[in-house]
């Protein structure tokens, strides 16, 4: 089989978001939020919503594509896809799955979406009300190892131990996100800057994570319209072309009770080579990165595994100035991301990556033409994608 690539074949043509709310504060139902984001994305793309013929999501989104298709009166549904796995690991993969459907002729106009109204459902950061647990939770919950922060803290602790990474490296990531959120009026933490002193004074959630190392929990929805590259060129917005996408995880990453052989990773070591191979770029070509922050420690591991610096260089590289737009060495999470813009399970990061290529970010990197998204460190499967402007094709 020749030409086994998605490079340059599809584009992200439209982006839509609801207002981002603190968790529990969305004034409408989660399903309404999903519809609003989808319609906004179509409006942004200049596409009639009735042209949608597919949906792609991840992390067990509760909003069934068939119900959405019925609600929107779609004439035909040709693709409905749920990426396996939890957390934000599917954020880039969901785009990749939509792209594969479009490039392969399965569907023509696929919307990637994610909607969350945690106030209406169980929160991620609180233990579910269970009297008993079995399977892997039986080996963790009775020891107070329950929440996502607790699940991932030991991976980061081991990584920091193996490579001598200091807490200041995590702090730089948090400060960069909060810094960028101050220029982003959409951000939940807009107007609430974070200083190094406030970070250092913040309480431990679970060592090695302080409060500001942990993502927010929010209500809202986000959506992206994926069409063929040819179709995108006829639409009003500057296309963000998909250069590469990859998903997966390492050898026995999901071995139960923390028995992954490569324990101290963010799960990307086998994913990244295929990502760069498809995209035809190297880390040095990447102009700006949105890296999913469930926890800052996951970001630092992700950046290492995506080849931006060696683990032993983390303390030197991860300084705030290096991570800031417009002129840092690697502008990171330029909307504020999951820490400070909104925890829209990382789909807001894909939208920000598109904005950078459109020159519409509130923390714009000048002339950004290669824009990366890293989705869901430490879960399995994880995924990443690279978008490019016209000049990269």
């Amino acid at each position: 089989m020749k030409d086994r690539t998605l490079r340059g074949k599809v584009a992200l043509a439209g982006i839509g978001e609801t207002t981002y709310y603190k968790h529990g504060q969305a004034p409408t139902s989660e399903f309404q939020l999903a519809l609003e984001a989808i319609l906004k994305a179509c409006g942004d793309a200049g596409v009639d919503p009735r042209e949608i013929d597919g949906f792609s999501s991840y992390s067990n989104d509760r909003n069934d594509p068939s119900r959405i298709a019925a609600a929107l009166g779609l004439p035909a549904l040709r693709f409905s896809n749920m990426q396996w796995g939890g957390g934000g690991g599917g954020g880039s993969a969901a785009v990749g799955n939509a792209a594969a459907a479009v490039a392969g002729g399965v569907a023509d106009c696929v919307v990637v979406f994610r909607a969350l109204a945690q106030g209406q459902f169980q929160r991620f950061g609180a233990a579910p009300p269970l009297a008993t647990v079995s399977g892997e939770p039986a080996m963790t919950f009775p020891y107070g190892l329950i929440s996502p922060a607790q699940r991932f803290a030991m991976r980061v602790m081991r990584f920091m131990h193996e490579h001598g990474v200091r807490h200041e490296a995590q702090r730089a990531i948090a400060l960069a996100s909060y810094h960028h959120a101050q220029s982003n009026p959409r951000a939940v933490m807009h107007g609430r800057p974070l200083t190094a002193e406030a970070y250092d004074a913040s309480r431990w959630i679970v060592e090695p994570f302080r409060l500001f190392d942990c993502c927010l929990e929010n209500d809202g929805a986000a959506a992206i319209v994926v069409v063929s590259a040819d179709r995108a060129r006829d639409l009003p917005r500057r296309p963000a072309y998909l250069l590469g996408v990859a998903q997966g995880s390492e050898h026995r990453n999901a071995a139960r009770a923390h028995n992954a052989p490569l324990y101290a990773t963010s799960s990307f070591t086998t994913v990244v080579p295929r990502l760069y191979d498809m995209a035809g770029v190297t880390p040095a070509d990447v102009d700006v990165v949105q890296s999913y922050e469930n926890f800052t420690g996951g970001v630092l591991m992700s950046l290492v595994e995506h080849g931006f610096f060696a683990a032993e260089e983390a303390n030197d590289f991860l300084r705030v100035d290096n991570l800031l737009a417009p002129s840092g060495r690697l502008p990171l999470n330029t909307s504020g991301g999951n820490l400070a813009e909104c925890y829209m399970h990382g789909l807001e990061l894909v939208i920000e990556a598109v904005r950078q290529l459109r020159r519409e970010s509130t923390a714009q990197v000048p002339d950004a033409e290669v824009s990366m998204v890293i989705s869901g460190p430490m879960v399995t499967p994880v995924s990443s994608l690279i978008l490019g402007g016209e000049s990269t094709l």
Partner: protein, 152 residues
């Protein structure tokens, strides 16, 4: 590994979800072993590879004849965390506690979880030796036993 904490003197407050074996029986030998004060793990009857957590097939040789063997409850701390924020109602006001991931070098380097007994503010060192301690919850609706670890 003969220490058994007396009933009622638990490391964490009562009220956390209680462990029960999986409905399909996969991990039942482990939980039954803890009741006897024995640490059990899977060991392939064909290639003798250790395996943890339990699975229906041996990851090393793909035999489905996966047996169980008693494991000496000595290991080294592979990683750890000190949890402060109470994510469950039973933990409110309890203060920090330590979870450790313990590597068992003599059993194929499998890893097991548990709490680290002693001062919750103690300095924890990756690589430090630890020993299993069985904490029986005989007063639970369905009695069970947890495995903790103590520095040696």
């Amino acid at each position: 590994m003969s220490d058994v904490a007396t009933s009622g003197a638990y490391y964490l407050p009562a009220g956390l979800p209680a462990p029960v074996p999986e409905p399909d029986g996969l991990d039942r030998p482990y939980w039954e072993g803890t009741r006897r004060g024995e640490l059990m793990a899977q060991r392939c009857n064909r290639c003798h590879a250790w395996q943890w957590g339990p699975e229906w097939i041996c990851h090393a040789c793909l035999a489905t004849d996966v047996g169980w063997a008693r494991v000496d409850g000595r290991g080294v701390i592979y990683s750890w965390e000190r949890a402060w924020h109470p994510v469950h109602a039973a933990l409110k006001g309890h203060g920090p506690y330590i979870v450790v991931l313990v590597e068992l070098p003599h059993a194929g380097h499998i890893r097991m979880l548990g709490n680290l007994l002693g001062d919750p503010h103690q300095t924890v060192t990756i690589g430090a030796p630890v020993e299993a301690v069985f904490e029986a919850h005989d007063d639970a609706k369905t009695p069970f036993t947890l495995v903790h670890w103590k520095p040696v």
